[in-house]
């Protein structure tokens, strides 16, 4: 429950606000930038909720805006923070982008949306598809038609009736991203696969969909055996259209989809995975005047797959100069603005292994432990609030890539059944798979 919602610019000036409960003076917002900058002096990042004189400030940042909610009560914080994110989502769909300029350019409709999306501080309809049916500039021209869509209060609150397509199609994208944390000596400290199934749904009427995956638990509960691999998802999250009790009972994923694009589900696997692109790095420091990096990258996936747009980003000291590189594949460049060297390989075939050597000069004499903007940069470092991640922080090597037609987990869409009892049209489901690097961090070893 929120008492008021504010949109502020980065200086903390209010651009637009809506008061829902009147129990907090709207002037309380003037304290926000002050509190924020006070807290920033203490720490490089300020937590999303804090309290001052009995008023609680919950905020998120988006582009050049702060979205802020105030409350006096011990509110469900998740609800409010997520609602702020929903505002971003809805407004972005309405105005293409949500930033300072879009607030003033659309202030009338923003007031309307705020009135509709929240009542007395409680989130209401936040489905932008549905909102767009009755809150639009156009609708005012056709006064009589603007009525609350049934979906607003219906059990199916995400889809309206009467949708028609000439060609009924569904596109499924299975996107997996791999998060890895590797220690300097090559141990995988943490690995995690985050998957998502995204849909583009162009179907008429009120279609019933059923999705079959090679879900191990499903095979076990139904007593079915399967050839090929089944996967064990540690946790699954579904779009609100999916019937959760049904899934709980027999692992069936059944739903009436929203129209257009949405994320049907996301899942997480904790299985220990080996890094798809293994990077080893040796750092050599030569009497503090020169630093040398030797990198070895190996693609640890099947030969028939290829990783595209591979980028290996190696942090180097802030003041390094005169870079020299040698590699047998791809290109290397020095990005002083990021204090890093970037090794790019357009295509990296499965099973291949490549090497790269980089040498950089250091202008001044310094200790051996200072590479990568390490510890000594920390003298008073974050005191002035400059401790932003990236620069100065002890940064790891990052690896980025994309592997099409491949999933790390081995998840497969076995079927997607589409039935619309009234219209009974033929439809075409399409499936694509892709693996992306998520957050892959290889800690940089100490220089030798």
């Amino acid at each position: 429950m929120a008492s008021a919602i504010f949109f502020l610019d980065l200086k903390g000036k209010t651009l637009l606000a809506r008061n829902y409960r009147g129990d907090i003076p709207m002037s309380a917002v003037e304290k926000f930038p002050i509190l924020l900058s006070e807290a920033e002096e203490e720490s490089s990042a300020v937590p999303p909720c804090f309290s001052h004189e009995g008023i609680n400030y919950l905020y998120i940042r988006h582009n050049n805006l702060y979205l802020l909610a105030l409350t006096k009560r011990n509110t469900n914080a998740a609800e409010i923070l997520l609602f702020l994110h929903k505002i971003v989502e809805v407004f972005t769909e309405y105005f293409k982008a949500l930033e300072e300029e879009s607030i003033r350019d659309n202030f009338v409709i923003i007031y309307e949306l705020l009135d509709e999306m929240m009542d007395f501080g409680y989130p209401q309809t936040t489905e932008s598809k549905i909102l767009q049916e009755y809150i639009t500039q156009e609708s005012h021209k056709l006064e009589i038609q603007a009525r609350p869509p049934i979906a607003v209060t219906n059990a199916v609150s995400w889809r309206s009736e009467g949708i028609r397509y000439r060609k009924n199609e569904v596109f499924l994208d299975v996107i997996e991203s791999l998060n890895l944390l590797v220690s300097a000596n090559g141990n995988v400290l943490r690995s995690e696969i985050l998957g998502a199934i995204k849909m583009k749904c162009y179907l008429s009427g009120m279609p019933e969909l059923r999705l079959g995956l090679n879900d191990k638990v499903m095979f076990e509960t139904t007593g079915r055996t399967t050839r090929g691999k089944a996967i064990e998802m540690e946790d699954v999250k579904f779009h609100q259209c999916v019937r959760l009790s049904r899934f709980e009972n027999d692992r069936t994923i059944s739903f009436i989809p929203p129209d257009g694009e949405f994320e049907l589900m996301s899942y997480r696997l904790n299985t220990q995975v080996k890094p798809l692109i293994w990077v080893e790095c040796v750092v050599e420091s030569h009497s503090g005047s020169r630093i040398e990096y030797m990198l070895k990258a190996r693609a640890q996936f099947k030969r028939r797959s290829t990783a595209n747009n591979v980028e290996i980003i190696v942090p180097v000291p802030d003041d390094a100069d005169t870079p020299r590189f040698r590699t047998n594949v791809g290109s290397v460049h020095y990005a002083p603005e990021k204090s890093a060297i970037v090794w790019k390989i357009k295509q990296f075939g499965g099973g291949k292994e490549f090497l790269m050597r980089a040498e950089l000069g250091l202008p001044s004499v310094r200790g051996d432990d200072e590479h990568g903007g390490g510890m000594t940069g920390g003298f008073g470092g974050s005191m002035g609030g400059v401790g932003a991640p990236g620069k100065g922080a002890k940064r790891p090597i990052q690896v980025k890539f994309e592997i099409p037609y491949f999933t790390t987990s081995g998840i497969q869409v076995r079927y997607l059944k589409i039935t619309e009892p009234k219209l009974q049209y033929p439809s075409l489901p399409w499936v694509r798979y892709i693996t992306q690097s998520g957050d892959i961090a290889v800690r940089l070893p100490d220089a030798v």
Binding site: S44, F107, R147, E192
Partner: protein
């Protein structure tokens, strides 16, 4: 899709004059069928309102005149104006009432709901009175959209005038809405009832099993927010049988797979609550296993949700450790995690560390201790020291790591390490003193009072082993007069200890220090302690030795826990703001309704409550780990009155007090552990102690949160792990890094 693309209305943001706008508003000739000019004028007025140009109030009569125009766009702008300015011009505002009343009979449900919503937002007596009969009517509207709006409207009216609502039958009518066949309406009615209940003692919210069961049945048909409201309302259901609780928990468990994290966290709250009423341990374990994956998944969300999940994980770990037992690695920090996430992860890592994973943990902490953020590095160093205390078999490894870090010579690492090593000496006397030499090498880099005080304590305590202890102390004493009182107290005690252990070395120093501390100070603590030593030393050296060098109560690292009562309350509030602050609800939210586990035949008495009764839990206490400025020291703060705890119960807590105080009291404390055989001294020390206690109360961090000083009475501790840096309202803002005297993040 066609919505306001390219709005382009920012040009309307020009400060307007009332007269001009009035002219523009009324200029629209009859030809202007679509009211285009009126709309532009209204937009300009709303833009001015947005810019807080309160001159716009002057246009009130003109706006009221526009309200009746049959254009939704115009209506919405007029209503917005009305909601904003009605309280400034109530006499004109009331003229809008007939328009609103008329709109509530409009055939379009959107218009009916809009008029009702608008009217009920206005805190003006005439409006409130006029709304009552209309709400009654619209609570039975044929359109669910209107009914849902009417449901929230009752809560609004209650906010405006509770007596009027209580005198009417509105709440009964709202109750009837719970039987509505539309799930969204039911969820809205519940949210409204909960809102009223939260503020009123006059209303009781009782939900029996069949109600609860019906609520769960419609859960799947509600929007994500509706689900949150229903789940929150389920917290008012008190299971009467273990089986009921279990069944309900199982029925809501599918919500854990909802993509909305607020549904997930609220569902976790309800399941944790229901577990208290389930007798079958196996079923509880099964439920715990269900909670773990969703909680971990929340860690992959944006930093805000992640932070919320982590704060709640701190609670859940204490109440239901099985939920998070599996993998400590999920809490390892990413280099780009925001600092508030990192710090909370560090606390979780500390809590989950055990003999099995300690090597892995230490490798990780070593990594953190070389990061860039000073605040985080300090906490990592502190954690290493505390692990030495927590996990005895790993103490040696922890100490080696600390020494390795000290050798980096980074000042704040050295200082932090010095402080924790002092505690390690306390925990393991006569085991690791060989490292004193290493510490002494870094004396010059100590400039923080806490670190200095810690080092001085070490020198005093081991005066007989440190060859040049007198010289070292003399160096420190050189600047005695300028030192903060925390260090002065430590110096005083250390000098006395030196004298007792090596009289020949200390005999020159002691009189000097005693003279300074009695004659040249305004600080009563310092003076009183000096007098006490003076008297002690001049009375009987043997007793003085026994008292000053007496055995100290052991310390442990296990006191990071919340006291059971607070923990119970916090678990009933999972996902709320209080769990982010990790403070008892009432201290931050004074008007919040207190929550505790309602009694029921199937309420399982938690082990900790048995513990509490068995031990007559002296005071709920706790501490923040890795506190900013505060060190455990040799003093037991649980003592509520002026009497110290008997030695038997004084051995498993750590002090939370500012180091000065703790130091001041510790010798007196040691004195009591030695048992009094000198009655005179007892009285002396007793009086001294009493005075210290009074002193201490004055030194409580005062108005720390929302002007709530009263809640921080002595002996009423709780965990405040969120460092004060994050609560700008707190006194602890001034200076991180242990500089801030009695105002760290520990609020006793």
């Amino acid at each position: 899709m066609s919505a306001a693309q390219g709005g382009g209305d920012s040009k309307l943001f020009a400060r307007g004059k009332v007269a001009e706008l009035r002219l523009e508003l009324n200029s629209g000739s009859k030809k202007d069928k679509n009211f285009t000019q009126k709309k532009i004028a209204l937009k300009k007025i709303v833009a001015n309102m947005t810019m807080s140009n309160n001159d716009m109030v002057g246009l009130f009569p003109d706006i009221v005149a526009c309200m009746a125009i049959q254009s939704l766009e115009i209506k919405k702008m007029c209503f917005l104006y009305l909601v904003n300015y009605a309280r400034m011009k109530p006499d004109i505002a009331v003229k809008a009432i007939p328009v609103l009343e008329h709109d509530m009979e409009d055939p379009n449900p959107l218009v009916r709901a809009l008029a009702l919503r608008t009217m009920s937002y206005i805190h003006v007596r005439e409006f409130v009175e006029a709304t009552v009969p209309l709400v009654k009517h619209l609570l039975r509207d044929i359109d669910p959209y209107v009914r849902k709006t009417a449901a929230f409207c009752v809560a609004k009216l209650y906010d405006h005038d509770r007596h009027m609502v209580e005198a009417s039958d509105l709440i009964d009518r709202l109750n009837n809405l719970l039987r509505d066949d539309n799930p969204t309406v039911v969820a809205s009615a519940l949210a409204s009832l909960m809102d009223i209940w939260e503020r009123s003692d006059a209303i009781k919210l009782t939900i029996d099993y069949s109600n609860a069961s019906k609520m769960v049945a419609i859960l799947a048909d509600c929007s994500e927010w509706g689900q949150t409201y229903i789940l929150e309302a389920l917290m008012s259901y008190v299971p009467q049988e273990s089986g009921e609780a279990l069944l309900l928990a199982e029925r809501i468990a599918p919500r854990l797979s909802h993509s909305n994290s607020s549904v997930v966290l609220t569902c976790i709250r309800v399941i944790l609550y229901l577990m208290n009423y389930i007798s079958d341990q196996k079923q509880i374990s099964a439920l715990c296993r269900k909670l773990s994956p969703p909680l971990v998944t929340l860690l992959a969300k944006g930093p805000e949700v992640q932070y919320l999940a982590l704060r709640n994980a701190l609670l859940i770990l204490q109440r239901r450790p099985e939920v998070l037992r599996n993998d400590i690695r999920v809490f390892f920090c990413k280099y780009n995690d925001p600092i508030y996430v990192k710090v909370t992860k560090l606390e979780l890592i500390f809590m989950l560390a055990n003999e099995k994973n300690i090597d892995e943990v230490l490798t990780e902490l070593r990594e953190y201790a070389t990061e860039i953020d000073v605040h985080f590095v300090r906490k990592a160093v502190r954690a290493i020291g505390k692990l030495a205390i927590k996990i005895e078999p790993a103490a040696k490894r922890c100490i080696n790591l600390l020494l390795e870090l000290v050798s980096t010579k980074v000042t704040y690492i050295v200082q932090e390490a010095t402080v924790v090593i002092r505690n390690i000496f306390r925990k393991y006397p006569n085991q690791y003193e060989s490292i004193i030499g290493t510490l002494c090498e870094h004396l010059d880099s100590l400039d923080e009072p806490e670190a200095k005080a810690a080092m001085v304590w070490v020198i005093g305590q081991y005066a007989s082993r440190i060859e040049n202890s007198d010289a070292l102390l003399e160096d420190f004493l050189y600047s005695f007069a300028e030192e903060p009182v925390e260090v002065q107290l430590a110096l005083l005690t250390a000098t006395v200890k030196l004298f007792i252990q090596r009289p020949t070395k200390g005999q020159d120093l002691v009189p000097r220090v005693l003279k300074w501390a009695t004659e040249e100070t305004d600080n009563p603590d310092l003076r009183d302690r000096a007098y006490m030593y003076w008297r002690l030393l001049s009375t009987d050296m043997e007793s003085a030795k026994r008292i000053v060098m007496g055995e100290k109560p052991a310390i442990t690292a296990e006191s990071e826990r919340l006291d059971p009562v607070t923990l119970e309350e916090m678990c009933l509030n999972v996902g709320t703001l209080a769990t982010v602050y990790l403070k008892p609800v009432q201290t931050v939210f004074r008007n919040a309704r207190p929550r505790k586990l309602p009694d029921s035949p199937c309420l399982q008495r938690p082990d900790y409550l048995d513990y509490a009764t068995a031990h007559q839990l002296p005071n709920p206490k706790s501490l923040s780990q890795f506190g900013q400025g505060h060190q455990p020291s040799d003093f037991d703060p649980r003592v509520p009155g002026s009497r110290p705890a008997p030695p038997s119960s004084a051995n498993n807590t750590q002090s939370q007090q500012g180091g000065n105080l703790a130091q001041a009291v510790h010798d007196a404390d040691a004195y009591f552990t030695q048992q009094a055989n000198q009655q005179a001294a007892v009285n002396d020390a007793d009086a001294y102690f009493a005075q210290q206690m009074r002193q201490m109360q004055i030194q409580q961090p005062g108005d720390s949160f929302g002007g709530d000083a009263g809640h921080y009475g002595y002996g009423q501790g709780y965990v405040v792990s969120q460092s004060s840096a994050y609560q700008p309202g707190m006194g602890g803002m001034n200076g991180m890094g242990g500089m801030n005297g009695a105002q760290g993040d520990l609020l006793l």
